[in-house]
C-alpha cells in the first residue's frame, strides 16, 4: 500500500461521527458517557499508534508507556500541587510524553521490524515496574485523584483530545511531514539518499504519537479517579489500539476511529451478552480480521472487485 489513503468521503463521514460523539453527555446517561469516553480514548491511542506504526511503518508495542506517563502526570499534579486543571495536566503530559519519546526514540528507533516491536514491548513492561517503585509517584499503592464536580468536563476534554488528534493526523497526511513518514516506511535507505533524514522523521513521528497517547492518558487519569501501575500500563491499552487501527485500516486517516467504533461496539455487545466467553470471541474476531481483512475495513472501499476482490485476496500472502 502506498501513501496515506484518505478517501475524502470516508474522512468526512468519520468527522461527522466524531461531531455526533460530542453530544453524548447530553443524554445524561453515565453508561453511555463512559462508553463514549472509552471510544474516544482508544481512538486517540489508535491514531497515535497509526502515526508511528501506519504512516512510518515502525510497529510499536510500547505506546502504552506514553499513556501511562500522561496518566501519572495528572496523578502527580494532583498529589503534589493539588491541581485539578485538565488543560494543565494535558499540557504537562504532552511535554513529558514528547520528552520521553525523543530520549528513548533516538536509540530505539535504530532497530527495525521485529526487534523494534520487542524493544518497545520490553520498555512497556520495564516502565511499569520502574514507575511502580517510585514513591514520589505513589509507589505500589497508587494515587487517588479528586475528580471535578462537573464530571462531563472529562468527556469534553477527551473529545477535544480526540478531535485534535484526528485533525493532526489529517494535516500530517497532507503535508510534507506525512510524505517523509511514508518515504521512511517504503524504503528508508532510498529516503536517506533523497535527503530525508530518517532519524529526525522517525523520532518526530514517535513524538507525535507520544503526544497523542499522553494527552489521552492525562484525561483518563482524571476521569478514572485512581492511578497505579497496572491501571496506567494495562496491556489492553497497548493491544486494543493496534487491533483497532488494523481493523479500520493501517495508514489511513479515518481508519483508527472507524476501527475504534466498530471494535468497541463488538466488545461491549460480547461482554454484555456473553460475559464468560467474551475474550474468546474477541480472540476469534482478531483472527478473522487478520485473515480476511489484513488491510482493514476501509480497504474494502478501495479494493477493486468488491467482495469477490476481498475473497480472492485472502490467499495473497500464503505459500
Amino acid at each position: 500500500m502506498g501513501g496515506i489513503t484518505g478517501n475524502a468521503i470516508v474522512v468526512r463521514i468519520t468527522a461527522a461521527l466524531l461531531v455526533l460523539l460530542a453530544f453524548v453527555p447530553l443524554l445524561h446517561n453515565s453508561y453511555d458517557e463512559n462508553l463514549g469516553r472509552s471510544v474516544l480514548m482508544f481512538a486517540t491511542l489508535s491514531m497515535g499508534w497509526n502515526v508511528i506504526g501506519g504512516y512510518t511503518g515502525y510497529v510499536s508495542f510500547g505506546n502504552v508507556v506514553f499513556f501511562g506517563i500522561g496518566a501519572y502526570t495528572t496523578a502527580a499534579l494532583w498529589q503534589h500541587w493539588h491541581s485539578q486543571s485538565i488543560a494543565l495536566s494535558v499540557a504537562c503530559a504532552i511535554v513529558a510524553g514528547v520528552a520521553f519519546a525523543v530520549v528513548l526514540g533516538v536509540p530505539i528507533l535504530r532497530l527495525r521490524g521485529h526487534y523494534f516491536g520487542i524493544a518497545t514491548l520490553g520498555i512497556a513492561l520495564a516502565t511499569q515496574e520502574i514507575i511502580s517503585n517510585i514513591d514520589w509517584l505513589g509507589g505500589g499503592t497508587g494515587v487517588t485523584i479528586r475528580q471535578l464536580d462537573d464530571y462531563s468536563a472529562y468527556y469534553y476534554a477527551m473529545w477535544a483530545v480526540c478531535a485534535a488528534s484526528m485533525l493532526a493526523s489529517y494535516l500530517i497526511s497532507r503535508s510534507k511531514l506525512g510524505y517523509a513518514f511514508v518515504a521512511v516506511r517504503e524504503n528508508e535507505e532510498a529516503a536517506a539518499v533523497l535527503g530525508v533524514n530518517p532519524t529526525r522523521y522517525k523520532v518526530t513521528a514517535w513524538a507525535i504519537s507520544a503526544a497523542m497517547a499522553a494527552a489521552a492518558g492525562a484525561v483518563f487519569a482524571g476521569a478514572n479517579g485512581f492511578m497505579d501501575g497496572p491501571t496506567a500500563f494495562a496491556i489492553d491499552n497497548n493491544v486494543f489500539p493496534i487491533v483497532m487501527a488494523i481493523l479500520g485500516g493501517v495508514g489511513t486517516v479515518a481508519g483508527p476511529l472507524v476501527g475504534a467504533l466498530i471494535l468497541t461496539a463488538i466488545n461491549e455487545t460480547l461482554w454484555s451478552h456473553f460475559p464468560q466467553i467474551h475474550t474468546l470471541f474477541f480472540g476469534a474476531v482478531i483472527v478473522l480480521v487478520v485473515v480476511f481483512l489484513p488491510r482493514g475495513i476501509l480497504w474494502l472501499l478501495a479494493v477493486r472487485g468488491g467482495w469477490k476482490g476481498v475473497l480472492a485476496s485472502v490467499g495473497a500472502y500464503r505459500v
Binding site: 506504526g53 510497529v59 521490524g113 521485529h114 526487534y115 516491536g117 520487542i118 514491548l121 513492561l125 517503585n133 493491544v239 493496534i242 487491533v243 488494523i246 493501517v250 464468560q276 466467553i277 475474550t279 474468546l280 474477541f282 480472540g283 476469534a284 474476531v285 482478531i286 483472527v287 487478520v290 485473515v291 489484513p294 485472502v314 490467499g315 500472502y317 500464503r318 505459500v319
Partner: protein, 274 residues
C-alpha cells in the same frame, strides 16, 4: 556464599526448561519469521495433557512427554496449515496479531474447559532431594534437566541428519529456491510450526512438575523465550542451544529488588562461561 551456589544450581536446573521453550520458539521464528505469541498457550496445553493423564490414568508425567508432543504436534500442524498459512508471508504485524488472537482463543477455551483454579502434579518423588555439600538438589528438577537435554539433543540430530531437517534448513535460507527444488513449502512450514508446538508441549509437561498449572501459566515463559532468542541467536544448532539455555537462567524472579540483584549476579556469572 552458600546462597550463591544454591542459586547457581537452581538456575542451571531451571535453564533446561527455558532451553526447550526457547528452542521451539526460535525454530518458528528463525525459519518462518513468525513470532509465535501462542507459544505460551501451547506450553499450557502440554501441562494440562500431563495433568489429565496423571489424574485420570495415573501416568507419570515423564511418560506423558511423548503423548503431549504428539498432541501438540497435531494441533500445531492444523493451526499453521489452515489458519496461519494465509498470512505467513505478510508483514510482521499481521502474523504477530494473528498469533496473539490465537493465544487469546486457546487460553480462553482452556479456561472454559479446565476453569481457572490452580492445579498441580504431585508424584511420589515430588519432594525428595539429595544434597551435595550445602547445596540441595531436588530429584524432579534433575530429571527435568536430563529430559530437556535429551529433547534438545534429539532435535539437533533430527535437524542435521534427517531429510526433513535438511529441507527445513533449505527453506530457511530461501523459500522460493526450496520450492523450485521440490520442497512442499506449505506442508514443511506446518511441520516446523508443529515441531515448535510439540516442543512447547514437552516443555509444558516438564514445567507442570515444578510449577503450578493454570490457563495463563505460559506467558512468562514466552517473554523469557524472547530474551533468550535475541541474546542467544536464532539458529538451532548445538553450540547455540547451550548459549540459549545459559542465557535462559537469567530470568527475573518476583521477589525483592535486592534479592533479584543477587540472583542476576549469580546467573550472569554462569553466562560468562559460554
Amino acid at each position: 556464599m552458600q546462597l550463591f551456589w544454591q542459586d547457581l544450581v537452581n538456575g542451571l536446573l531451571a535453564g533446561g526448561i527455558f532451553a526447550v521453550v526457547a528452542l521451539g520458539f526460535s525454530l518458528v521464528w528463525g525459519i518462518m519469521n513468525i513470532i509465535n505469541l501462542a507459544h505460551g498457550a501451547f506450553i499450557m496445553l502440554g501441562a494440562y495433557v500431563a495433568y489429565v493423564m496423571f489424574t485420570a490414568w495415573h501416568v507419570d508425567p515423564f511418560l506423558s512427554l511423548p503423548v503431549a508432543f504428539v498432541v501438540l504436534f497435531a494441533l500445531g500442524y492444523a493451526i499453521q496449515r489452515y489458519i496461519i498459512n494465509f498470512v505467513v508471508r505478510a508483514p510482521i504485524l499481521t502474523t504477530f496479531l494473528l498469533t496473539f488472537g490465537l493465544s487469546l482463543l486457546v487460553v480462553n477455551v482452556a479456561l472454559l474447559i479446565f476453569h481457572g483454579d490452580i492445579k498441580g502434579i504431585e508424584t511420589s518423588y515430588s519432594g525428595s532431594n539429595f544434597s551435595i555439600g550445602s547445596v540441595t538438589i531436588a530429584w524432579v528438577k534433575l530429571w527435568t534437566l536430563v529430559a530437556a537435554l535429551a529433547i534438545t539433543a534429539l532435535m539437533q540430530v533430527f535437524l542435521t541428519t534427517s531429510r526433513t531437517g535438511r529441507a527445513i534448513r533449505a527453506t530457511a535460507q530461501d523459500v522460493d529456491a526450496a520450492q523450485l527444488t521440490g520442497v512442499r513449502v506449505a506442508h514443511l512450514y506446518a511441520i516446523v510450526f508443529a515441531l515448535g508446538a510439540g516442543l512447547a508441549g514437552a516443555a509444558g509437561v516438564l514445567i507442570s512438575l515444578s510449577y503450578s498449572i493454570e490457563p495463563t501459566m505460559g506467558d512468562p515463559f514466552v517473554i523469557t523465550a524472547f530474551v533468550v532468542c535475541v541474546l542467544g541467536g536464532l539458529e538451532a544448532c548445538r553450540a547455540r542451544s547451550w548459549a540459549v539455555s545459559s542465557t535462559a537462567w537469567w530470568r527475573p524472579s518476583g521477589r525483592s529488588t535486592s534479592e533479584r540483584a543477587c540472583r542476576m549476579r549469580s546467573r550472569w556469572s554462569c553466562c560468562s562461561w559460554f
